[in-house]
C-alpha cells in the first residue's frame, strides 16, 4: 500500500466577497508521484496551491500532511511543516538583493542552520540545477530559466518531501520549459520527492505527470491517471480541456516520438 503523503479533505475557500473559489476538494497525493492539477484560469488552481501549505487558510476543510492536520498546528509547527513542502512560482519570487548563493542559503538561514553546513548544501544544490558558475550572480542578470533553477535549488534546500509548482513554467518559452520539466522529473526520480504541478498547460501535465486532477468551477471534475483522463475524458470539463488545448502539438509529438515525420504519416494514411 503506497503511502499517502498529502490529503485535502472537504477543502473549501471563500473570500469575503463573491462565490466560493474552492468547494469540497478531496485529493490524495501518493508519496513519490508527480501529480498534476489542471484547470482554466479562474478555476481555483492557485488558491488550491496556496491552501495546500496554508499560505491561505481554507474557509473549511483541512489539509493532512503525513497524516497531521495542518489546521491543528500552532504557528511554529506550521512553519516547520512548510519546510517539508518546497514551493516554486510562476514569477520565481527570488530575493533580488541577494546573490544566487544567498537565495539558496535563505531557507537554511530561516531554519537556523550553521553557516558552513548551509554553504556546503547550497553549493551541492546549485550543482544539481547546473548553476554552479552563477553562485555570485544576482537574479536580475539571469534568464527566466536560470531564475527558475535558482528557485528550485532554494525550494529543495531543506530536503522537502513535497515540491509544489505553481505555474512554474508558465512564464518560460517552450524550450526552457522542457529543461525545467526534465529537471523536475530528475528530482522526482533521484530524490523521491513528491511533486505537485499546478498548470493550465496540457503539455506540462502530459510530459511529467503520472496522475491528474481537473479543476473546474471550484470543484474537482475528474481525477485519474493522465493517459486515461486524456484519452477517455468522462466529464465535459475534461473534454473541453483535452480538445481545446494543443491537439496539433500533441499529435506532432506523438508522431515524432515514434520516429516518424508528418509527411510519412500523411503518406501512410493516403492523404498525400
Amino acid at each position: 500500500m503506497p503511502e499517502i503523503i498529502l490529503q485535502t479533505r472537504g477543502l473549501s475557500k471563500r473570500f469575503a466577497t463573491g462565490d466560493p473559489v474552492l468547494e469540497d476538494v478531496d485529493l490524495d497525493i501518493t508519496a513519490g508521484e508527480i501529480f498534476g492539477l489542471i484547470g482554466k484560469s479562474g478555476a481555483g488552481k492557485s488558491t488550491l496551491a496556496r491552501c495546500v501549505n496554508f499560505l491561505e487558510r481554507p474557509s473549511s476543510g483541512d489539509v493532512l500532511f503525513e497524516g497531521k492536520p495542518l489546521s491543528s498546528l500552532a504557528p511554529r509547527d506550521l512553519y516547520k511543516a512548510r519546510r517539508s513542502m518546497g514551493m516554486i512560482f510562476q514569477q520565481f519570487n527570488l530575493l533580488m538583493q541577494r546573490s544566487v548563493l544567498g537565495n539558496v542559503l535563505f531557507p537554511m538561514e530561516i531554519a537556523h542552520w550553521k553557516k558552513s553546513k548551509a554553504v556546503a548544501r547550497a553549493k551541492e544544490l546549485l550543482d544539481l540545477v547546473k548553476l554552479s558558475d552563477k553562485e555570485n550572480a544576482y537574479p536580475a542578470t539571469l534568464s527566466g530559466g536560470q531564475r527558475q533553477r535558482v528557485a528550485i535549488a532554494r525550494a529543495m534546500a531543506l530536503s522537502p518531501r513535497v515540491l509544489l509548482c505553481d505555474e512554474a513554467t508558465s512564464a518560460l518559452d517552450p524550450e526552457t520549459t522542457r529543461g525545467i520539466l526534465a529537471l523536475l522529473r530528475d528530482i522526482n526520480q533521484r530524490l523521491g520527492v513528491t511533486i505537485i504541478v499546478i498548470t493550465h498547460e496540457m503539455l506540462v501535465i502530459e510530459s511529467i505527470c503520472t496522475r491528474v486532477a481537473i479543476l473546474d468551477n471550484s470543484h474537482v471534475a475528474e481525477i485519474g491517471p493522465v493517459r486515461e483522463v486524456f484519452t477517455h475524458p468522462k466529464t465535459e470539463a475534461a473534454r473541453a480541456l483535452v480538445q481545446s488545448d494543443g491537439r496539433a502539438e500533441r499529435l506532432l509529438r506523438l508522431i515524432e516520438s515514434n520516429g516518424l515525420t508528418v509527411e510519412e504519416v500523411l503518406s501512410r494514411v493516403g492523404i498525400v
Binding site: F89, N93, L94, R98, P107, A111, Y138
Partner: protein, 217 residues
C-alpha cells in the same frame, strides 16, 4: 572676517550635529513604526485593524502640527530631557518628534514596494513574520530605504534651520540673527548657500549609494 569664518564653521558643525542626531533618533522611532504600519495592514503579516488605524491617525495628527508650534509646545518635555530649552541639543527633541512620523510613512512606502510574491515565497519556506521583516522586507527595500533616508535627512536639515527662531543654533540661527535681525545680507546669503550645499551633498550621496547597492539592474 576670521570671526565670520569661525562662526560659519561652528554653524555648520551645529547644523550637522542637530541633523544627524535627530535623524538617527527619529529613525529609532520611525523605523519600527513604519514596520508596524506595514505588518498590521490589511493583507500584512499580522493584520490588526484597530492598531493600524489608530497608529495611522496618530501619525497623521503628528505630521500636521506645524513645526514651529511643536517646537514651542514640547518645551516642557525638552527641558525635562535635556535640562534646557535653547541650543542645538535642545532642538534635537522637537526635530526628532516631528520627523519620526514622517519617517514612519517613508519606511512604510519603501516596504510596501517589496514584491508580495517574494514575501509569499519566504512564508512558503516557513519564515516567521519577524524573520520576513528582518530578512526579506528590510533587506529587499534597502535601496528605497536609503533614498528615503536622504529625503528625511534633508528635510530635517531644513527644519533645523527653523529652530534658529528660538535660538536653536546652527546655520539657520546665524541666518536669522545676522541676516534678518541685523540686515547683514551677505552673511545671510552665505549661510543659505551653505545650507543648499549641504542638502545637495546629502541628496547626492544618498542617491548614489542607493543606486550602488541596488542589485536589480
Amino acid at each position: 572676517m576670521s570671526g565670520l569664518y569661525e562662526m560659519l564653521i561652528k554653524g555648520i558643525k551645529e547644523t550637522l550635529y542637530m541633523t544627524l542626531w535627530s535623524t538617527a533618533l527619529a529613525y529609532a522611532l520611525g523605523l519600527p513604526l513604519g514596520v508596524i504600519l506595514v505588518a498590521t495592514d490589511r493583507g500584512g503579516l499580522r493584520p490588526m485593524r484597530g492598531l493600524n488605524a489608530a497608529l495611522g491617525i496618530i501619525i497623521n495628527i503628528a505630521r500636521s502640527i506645524p513645526f514651529l508650534i511643536l517646537l514651542i509646545a514640547v518645551i516642557p518635555l525638552t527641558r525635562a530631557i535635556v535640562g534646557r530649552m535653547v541650543g542645538s541639543t535642545a532642538t534635537i527633541v522637537p526635530l526628532t518628534l516631528s520627523a519620526a512620523p514622517f519617517i514612519a510613512r517613508l519606511v512604510e512606502s519603501s516596504l510596501k514596494e517589496v514584491d508580495a510574491g517574494v514575501v509569499q515565497a519566504a512564508r512558503s519556506m516557513g519564515a516567521s513574520p519577524m524573520q520576513i521583516i528582518c530578512k526579506v522586507l528590510l533587506p529587499e527595500a534597502r535601496p528605497s530605504l536609503l533614498l528615503g533616508a536622504a529625503i528625511a535627512i534633508t528635510t530635517i536639515l531644513g527644519y533645523s534651520a527653523m529652530a534658529g527662531i528660538v535660538g536653536g543654533g546652527g546655520l539657520g540661527d546665524i541666518a536669522i540673527r545676522y541676516g534678518y535681525y541685523r540686515y547683514q545680507r551677505d552673511t545671510m546669503l552665505i549661510t543659505v548657500a551653505l545650507l543648499v550645499l549641504i542638502v545637495q551633498a546629502f541628496q547626492e550621496v544618498g542617491a548614489r549609494a542607493a543606486k550602488r547597492i541596488d542589485r536589480r539592474i
